[in-house]
Symmetry: C2
Subunit: 303 residues, 2 copies
Amino acid sequence: MLHALSSPRLFRIRPWQPDSGVAMSASETSTPMNVNENEEQGLLDAINDRYGGVIVEVTQPMDSALFASVLSASMAQWRQQGKRGVWIKLPIQHVNLVEAAVKEGFWYHHAEPNYMMLVHWLPQGAHTLPANASHRVGIGAFVMNKNREVLVVQENIGRLRGTGVWKFPTGVVNEGEDLCAAAVREVKEETAIDTKFVQVLAFRQSHKVFFEKSDIFFLCLLEPLSFEIQKQESEIEAAKWMPIEEYAAQPFVQKYELLKCSVDICLAKKDGNYSGFSPVLTSSAFSNEKSYMYFNIHDLNKQ
Amino acid sequence: MLHALSSPRLFRIRPWQPDSGVAMSASETSTPMNVNENEEQGLLDAINDRYGGVIVEVTQPMDSALFASVLSASMAQWRQQGKRGVWIKLPIQHVNLVEAAVKEGFWYHHAEPNYMMLVHWLPQGAHTLPANASHRVGIGAFVMNKNREVLVVQENIGRLRGTGVWKFPTGVVNEGEDLCAAAVREVKEETAIDTKFVQVLAFRQSHKVFFEKSDIFFLCLLEPLSFEIQKQESEIEAAKWMPIEEYAAQPFVQKYELLKCSVDICLAKKDGNYSGFSPVLTSSAFSNEKSYMYFNIHDLNKQ
């Protein structure tokens, strides 16, 4: 049930919900459980979330001293009402209000280029607020043609620049992007080769890769649908088809278990009976949209 | 090569590097490529990153007007030097400086409870700065005893509260935490059952689960090492061992492909020859620490 917006307000209400819970739910259309009945002048307009907290989204410019006073009065009311988490979404154009919120006891929950989300926990004791996103997700693409040549690139940015190392195309999965789509996209961007996603062959989780964040890297098998390479100008120094044995023999590949093991897995996939995880679109609880589940279809089907 | 700190400064220098690149690297000890030689009064102290940018970490209180003027002068110098990305790490106690940075053209890159990271891109054209963490990672634990009973819980928070649905223990993987360790931890926290991690049986990626962030959920097989359940008070309403057939027969499980498919996979694992991905500690490039790689060991070993 969406809240019908009433006459002019300082703060627009938008249905949105933090989710403290578990990852079994896919994208959903959030609906507020109910709405804040208090709309007297001098209090922030807010909606209730399903965890006993409230959410404020500032959408209009405001003087920081006025905001401080209105926020303070609102906090008193929310405390009285037994509210738990208080969320304030501040678009970057209202950066002048950040300091007042922090002075009121709020801290940073997360930020994106165009907004900051602040939060405060009113009850006694440790908060049960959901954590910020913790991982970056990357893919590496194993693409081999019929001549047993793999698609490899040399990068002109990052740590391998100038080292002469040939590597699989790799890249970062965007927020909201399926990793199977990301693998196809990255190969296309870096080499202009069209591919079809087949399987996740392995993955690796590592830590403190990027700020304090962790990282999951998926090694993916893709089948080439085209063969003429055109390298990306901005990030790729060179790209070519290289015999897999030549790729594997590079000292850089031989030196690191991760890369060596990846080659063994790729060869087991191509020459043997290695089963990775294949993507299957599935519906899940709490969701209107389907999402990809990856599992060993080969083994499941042979039962 | 670490920069030797010189006499009192407004801004402490800390070696730290954004990484635009690829996920093949695990945790590493970052070292600055070189350091900013400019330490005249009136300019921010910064270190160079390996991508042609600079990093400033504010560690001392400062008047916001003074900061604005020093930042402005520093920006002029960095522009002249052809610098690319400019990063400012502002601990929350220096929140008074956020507005000045935004007025200078900085935007939010990310935030954690105790600090905000602002960034600016000096060259013409689109920036090549690394994205913020995009995913939350969760686990679900399939734990079955010798009587073919699975460990299940009812939650007293979140969407399933009060629904009577019995589910596998689930939880969120912390920043910096191995997912195999997170699975064991969550089962222990929710039920007091000790377990040993065996395999990832499947995973699911979904989107817009939490703010605009995506989510990867790993279905994991764990072997129970103890059997006496003691439920967690704060989040768990009830916990018990339940015959797998009874778990599977729940309408909630039957209704959703994801859950139904998960049961099929779990049974194929227990009764058939389903191979998931097992964790193996491996070394990787750029890293001093080992990290877990997950793959189909069974199939790799049979080659």
